[in-house]
Symmetry: C2
Subunit: 187 residues, 2 copies
């Protein structure tokens, strides 16, 4: 589709800042819809994030972490938000090392995706890291994390038990499953 003349486009009439925070900000955009009518869009702004499928001896690294919005602990692949101006690949290596202690000899992109495009601009950049070398974990001062390694079969069991219960980790497990079946993480 030619985005220069997009019949679905919503034109911004005004933007009202509501909140500016440490991780996210919130604004209300008044738009003109394709039919000419006005509407309000609630938009959460996020700096973007990285996540890493880290493979070690046919296991994937997962971290357990309390997620306040869900009021529970989730088991997720290592991930975190981009720092201002940070290179995305460097961010992926940094988060892997901070949350798991491992550095990697090989890392490559699987895919990027919007996590919640209806109301948020967050882009998640998913990588696969291999040739892992153990080191020292170094989480953020407000992060409390437990790192373990699980097989693909354990990963699916945890998905069924909803211990693994987030989009990026589910996508990473599907990618790993697909790699084992087809030889590629993204057909």
């Amino acid at each position: 589709m030619n985005e220069k003349n997009n019949p679905l486009e919503e034109t911004t009439l005004s933007t009202k800042p509501i909140y500016q925070g440490r991780v996210i900000s919130l604004q209300l955009d008044e738009v003109r819809l394709p039919n000419g009518q006005p509407a309000i869009r609630e938009v959460v702004k996020h700096p973007g994030a990285v996540a890493v499928l880290a493979l070690l001896d046919d296991k994937m690294l997962v971290v357990e972490q309390y997620r306040k919005p869900l009021e529970r602990t989730l088991m997720e692949i290592p991930a975190g938000k981009l720092e201002p101006g940070e290179d995305i690949l460097e961010a992926a290596k940094r988060e892997l090392e901070e949350e798991t202690g491992y550095t990697c000899g090989s890392i490559r992109k699987i895919s990027s995706f919007a996590t919640a495009p209806g109301f948020c601009d967050e882009m998640m950049h998913l990588y696969v890291a291999e040739q892992l070398e153990p080191g020292q974990i170094n989480p953020d001062e407000d992060e409390f994390i437990v790192c373990t390694a699980i097989t693909l079969e354990e990963a699916w069991a945890y998905v069924r038990e909803q211990r693994i219960h987030d989009a990026k980790t589910l996508a990473a497990i599907y990618a790993w499953q697909t790699y084992k079946l087809t030889g590629t993480f993204l057909p």
Copy 2:
């Protein structure tokens, strides 16, 4: 893990409402971290959403829709937020019919997942619908949607071109690929 005595848990000390909107609300939770220190968590509240992998003659239905947060059009599987008190399965059928016009003779859950658990409580409930029957589309008054059907090969091509570029649609395509390879949408 025993959630009653969770060593990673963050205890809520206070909650400050910031914004109450049409789709989302925002609050700041002051918490006590596992080490006893206080911290602030920015929490976006969302009613939850449904998404449908709708399969018709070995193609999946996708809808093109403008996504204001990303300032672009995305091709996504039919999806939408839960109405207050709405049954999740009924919501999935409703969104499928509203956005594509199709009703289904068969629908079942693939998985549920948090879209952005670091700052938002949104849960996405992913279904697969089959035995589709055409009908009349009926989008929300502020929704402008173009519906098409694509093959799995086209889906992967669109992922590579980033025309498909969101977590739920990527998960659905991986699930469909996995079904074709293994006979199950979630191994």
